[in-house]
Symmetry: C2
Subunit: 395 residues, 2 copies
């Protein structure tokens, strides 16, 4: 039976999330718990909604954090928008597209999956074809930033195609939000969900969502009840909406303190500056990894700066390398998922973890471990390339 | 646009939850975030499962915290155990029984609701009659400790009646766990969920659940998929079960640090001692409230020590009194829910908030505010009664 407090080891989190959490956010979570209907807490909720509108670039009234991880936000969007028998197209270019399709089926949708290559952006042409072949589609779902492969899709174009066919777009921005532009209003995204533990650098456990008026109206005007009571936005918004707040579930008070502080830090930096920072640190990491001979699995134009998926060199035990990075350098990088398990590493540069010193740490540590495992490579050259890229980008 | 960190006001939380969180638990949540697949985190998960088995008094393998508030734990039990067309009986003696029935309907069950009086325990006779009238019932759901009324039901007897009719029992112990005996194994409870923010005194946002082998087998052997992907225990247990852990969703890492510390504190105290403490502080509060002329809505034998529901005196503006307690004394007590809104106060003595000084604070503050609002009463006498009860109980 356990009898001691848990003291986590010190890690640098450069996997696919969670990312490193700033001390300000950690400290915010340790503030005393107050009631979920306390007037001071209701003010905090309003501030969180405003800050989420800032990062989502939206004026949507229905903008709030779901009281569960990103997967709960995904399911909230699906089960609120899907009615049994609805026709749904899901673009599938990685693990999370597959999850979206599974959820839509469980919600009773008639699902058509458009298969794309893993490691590539979703093909707008293939979506267009699928919509032409399948009349009366109600919803299109796709992943803006595929966390399983590091591919970035053109959310604006995909949403426009959906709208051209009178379908609404559900968009997964779990790994996108805060790391690359996500323009909910300008791109006309209808229902968007994200996570807190990626480029927002809050701890995992909450899922920001935002629905525009078209999507919100569809939820209000459903003919059948939402299959989930917990996620039913018609009930949830009695608590998270404006005006008098009535009890739905007990909000995760301290986690919301953390999210508020993390969002405040994004606003202090300026979200455009955060996008630039993610891009610069990615460029430097890429320069270093390329000298180490590591190949990115995603073509350059479709690459997500905050999640770098590279092939494991021939003959290398990928799990052993990750284990050594963790044990010897306190550095976490991620493994592949699904069909990419054992074949790639996923190196995150997300949120607070996206810092020059982490770029250099990763290039050095990975280079040293790979050398030690018998891969011939130029660690000094790689470090030099990363340093040069950093120097050039901040000049 | 918000531009300052949130500093919560200092409160004493004596509502229906969240309850006060100990500094040790708050500090635990502020420790650095690590990865949800980190070997150190996997060890923490194992410890949390062991500690949950300790508080639930069970050896159930399937024991874990759901990554969402108590409502998500409730829905996890319902959607995993209910298949479309299943026959379900829900005992309804308050808000949470009603919620259980709603969830079971949304999961496709054929639901029979057994109505009990609000403010009373669930009637075993009425459940027995309902089971006799309705053959082939698959599941019986009831609330052990009704948070909306403060009524404690006889979970052991109700579960036995369900078993006599070959039905499994889903039991809501959100407000019970840690405050009154909950004997999952000895009473044969099949699927049990709870919350963290009541008598365990961790922050809200997680929901411990435990399923015995009969319930777990029913989930494994379902003919239809669980309607929720997020809550599907067949998927969740690939992460929370033993052996190799595979990714399902990103666990709320820091919230779990807090839960671990809170459970450790329960174990340090000894759960039987925690039950005794809740009983003693309730007795003292009751003594004080009775001198203030406040009447409990639940008969003494059916009363929950950790949640004291009392009628609002005639002519008193209950919202104004709660507002003054909060503003002038930093004391939160709860309002009524549903049909009891405006008619009762719910005064919690849960977890870390169940302390002698809080009993006295509440009697004094409530007495003073009520006096000030024109109710004639004996504040000194009430304080004396509470103090005497405390002195007698610890002698």
């Amino acid at each position: 039976m356990p009898n001691a407090s848990f003291e986590p080891p010190r890690r640098i989190l450069m996997g696919p999330g969670p990312s490193d959490v700033h001390e300000r956010v950690l400290n915010a979570m340790a503030r005393p718990t107050i009631g979920h209907l306390d007037p001071a807490f209701v003010s905090l909720m309003d501030e969180i909604k405003d800050l989420l509108r800032y990062v989502f670039r939206t004026r949507n009234a229905l903008t709030m954090p779901v009281s569960g991880p990103g997967t709960a936000g995904m399911e909230s969007c699906v089960v609120n928008l899907v009615e049994p028998g609805d026709r749904v197209i899901i673009c599938h270019n990685g693990v999370f597209g597959g999850r979206l399709a599974d959820m839509a089926r469980r919600a009773g949708a008639d699902v058509v999956v458009v298969e794309d290559e893993w490691g590539r952006a979703v093909s707008p042409d293939r979506l267009e074809e699928a919509l032409a072949r399948n009349p009366d589609v109600d919803l299109v779902g796709f992943v803006h930033a595929e966390t399983s492969t590091g591919a970035l899709s053109d959310a604006q174009t995909l949403a426009r195609i959906a709208h051209d066919h009178d379908a609404l777009a559900i968009v997964d921005t779990v790994t996108a939000l805060g790391g690359v532009p996500v323009e909910v209003d300008a791109w006309g995204l209808d229902a968007v969900y994200s996570g807190t533990q990626k480029c927002l650098s809050a701890p995992p456990g909450l899922s920001p969502i935002t629905l525009n008026e078209e999507a919100a109206a569809r939820v209000r005007e459903r003919k059948t009840p939402v299959q989930s009571w917990f996620m039913d936005l018609n009930l949830v918004m009695a608590y998270w909406g404006g005006g008098k707040r009535s009890y739905h579930h007990t909000a995760p008070v301290n986690a919301l303190y953390g999210l508020h502080e993390a969002l405040l830090m994004v606003k202090e930096e300026g979200i455009e500056n955060a996008w630039t920072r993610h891009r610069r640190n990615h460029d430097a990491l890429r320069a270093g990894l390329e000298v180490l001979g590591l190949r990115f699995i995603v073509p350059e134009a479709e690459r997500l700066p905050e999640l770098n998926a590279v092939s494991v060199p021939e003959g290398v035990d990928e799990g052993k390398v990750r284990g050594r990075l963790l044990d010897e350098h306190g550095l976490e990088i991620g493994a592949g998922l699904g069909g990419l398990a054992g074949r790639i590493w996923r190196i995150g540069l997300m949120g607070y973890a996206s810092r020059p010193e982490n770029v250099l740490l990763c290039v050095k540590a990975l280079g040293e471990v790979l050398s030690d495992e018998g891969v011939v490579l130029d660690v000094d050259g790689a470090l030099h390339a990363a340093e040069s890229a950093l120097a050039a980008s901040t000049r």
